[in-house]
């Protein structure tokens, strides 16, 4: 495996569209729920242990060779908010474009043909990790980190937070991020033997509700 490939996949500068999404933090800022570094950290922690765990496991399962189309159905069942399904598929299309350029593989081509509207982004990322020779836990790490890195970066822009504070909180969440990635890849390994229902489906009611509220705004900075 190439460790550099993991750094590339997890890099916020990898041109896969992530910069235009706030991971729900734009809505949380508008509602006053996130207003400083501490509330941002609480937001990131809650997101990490809910949708972060769920999406990291989907990525790990894809990286481990689980059928990506079954995983895509599982992702739909775990994403009741239409706005979040649309965002995940749009980001999946964008990730697929970048992944096919960086890590061409027959599996990515097959997924592109089977899901022309895009598969859920973590599944595309997992397949890209697989194409790059990475392990399932690597894909889980990339997704778990992105689940907090995205909102933290967006909050820096939205609240003019000190970027050093944002980096500090991401570092502080490091051990929890590792634990989530490990749990996600463990579940993904079990899913190979026990079926897809053992993948985590940790969810948050507020992320789902706020995502639909945000999608209905006429003026916003971020796509989700």
């Amino acid at each position: 495996m190439s460790r550099a490939a993991l750094l590339l996949l997890a890099d916020g500068r990898f041109p896969a569209g992530g910069h235009a999404h706030s991971g729900g933090v734009e809505a949380a800022v508008a509602h006053g729920a996130v207003h400083d570094t501490d509330s941002l950290e609480a937001f990131c922690r809650g997101r990490l242990h809910t949708t972060g765990l769920t999406t990291a496991a989907l990525a790990a399962a894809a990286a481990g060779g689980h059928d990506p189309l079954l995983l895509d159905d599982a992702a739909d069942a775990r994403t009741p908010a239409p706005a979040l399904r649309a965002a995940a598929r749009r980001l999946g299309r964008q990730m697929l474009r970048a992944a096919r350029a960086a890590f061409p593989s027959a599996e990515l081509e097959r997924l592109a043909a089977a899901r022309p509207q895009g598969a859920h982004q973590p599944i595309v990322l997992g397949l890209a990790a697989r194409a790059a020779g990475l392990a399932p836990v690597d894909a889980a790490h990339a997704v778990a980190y992105e689940n907090i890195g995205g909102p933290a970066t967006a909050a820096v822009r939205l609240l003019s937070l000190d970027p050093l504070d944002a980096s500090r909180l991401l570092a502080r969440l490091g051990p929890e991020t590792d634990a989530v990635a490990a749990a996600a890849s463990g579940a993904a390994a079990r899913a190979m033997a026990e079926g897809i229902d053992v993948l985590p489906s940790a969810s948050s009611p507020l992320l789902d509700i706020a995502a639909e509220q945000h999608a209905a705004w006429s003026v916003r900075l971020f796509a989700s």
Partner: protein, 229 residues
């Protein structure tokens, strides 16, 4: 317009000159420049001037979502299905230069749903004087500045001023009111750009966008000649 309900079939990793069916795709023209210089007005004027002859669509990269797209809709320069707003996460310059994936999605979606298109105008968000378009997104780019923001802008240079395929210096009608020296601007632009073209415009006058429209038409003719070749 939502991108999620109908499908862009192609996922070309870069701005390939041909569509999956082998036909030449539409020419993609980027319009960049600082906020308030008249990018959206230029796009609107180009649409009005060229729409009877060519099949056109537009993509906007707003700082706040849809503001510019709404302007184009209000002015009715194109039907709504021909205008797509890309959300840029407070960083329009990233969406046209560093991570062009959302814009590529948008232009490909327009190509798929409106085929055959001749021309797609991609307007930047104007958040950054240094922002230029990636060559992976557009074929040629126009940088729009205006005389009222200071006649020293061409002298100061920057990548948009020096490298854009066309520099448009807009609002010449305001020059006497703001004390801008158009000759000095022309000399500075020439010094920065060498042989690259510069056009002075006043969009408030009748047909004020004509020269720019002719420049675009010239590139479109070249692009289509490339298709025939």
């Amino acid at each position: 317009m939502h991108l999620d309900h109908s499908l862009p079939q192609q996922h070309s990793p870069s701005a390939s000159a041909t569509r999956p069916d082998g036909n030449r795709r539409a020419l993609r023209v980027g319009l960049g420049g600082p906020v308030g210089s008249g990018k959206t007005a230029t796009v609107a004027a180009l649409c009005r001037t060229l729409r009877d002859r060519w099949c056109i669509a537009a993509v906007t990269n707003d700082i706040y979502t849809r503001e510019d797209a709404e302007y184009l809709l209000r002015e009715a320069v194109l039907p709504p299905e021909r205008i797509t707003a890309v959300e840029t996460g407070a960083c329009p310059h990233t969406a046209i230069r560093d991570d062009i994936s959302a814009n590529l999605e948008a232009v490909e979606h327009l190509e798929e749903t409106l085929h055959p298109l001749d021309l797609i105008l991609v307007e930047s968000g104007g958040d950054n004087l240094t922002a230029t378009f990636s060559k992976g997104l557009v074929d040629v780019q126009i940088f729009v500045i205006d005389v009222a923001s200071g006649d020293d802008i061409p002298r100061k240079g920057g990548p948009g001023i020096t490298t854009a395929d066309l520099l448009v210096i807009n609002k010449t009608d305001l020059a006497p009111h703001v004390g801008a020296d158009l000759d000095a601007m022309a000399i500075d632009a020439k010094r920065q750009r060498g042989d690259l073209p510069v056009i002075f415009t006043s969009l408030t006058s009748d047909d004020g966008v004509r020269e720019v429209a002719d420049w675009v038409t010239g590139h479109l003719a070249q692009w289509r000649a490339g298709a025939a070749a």
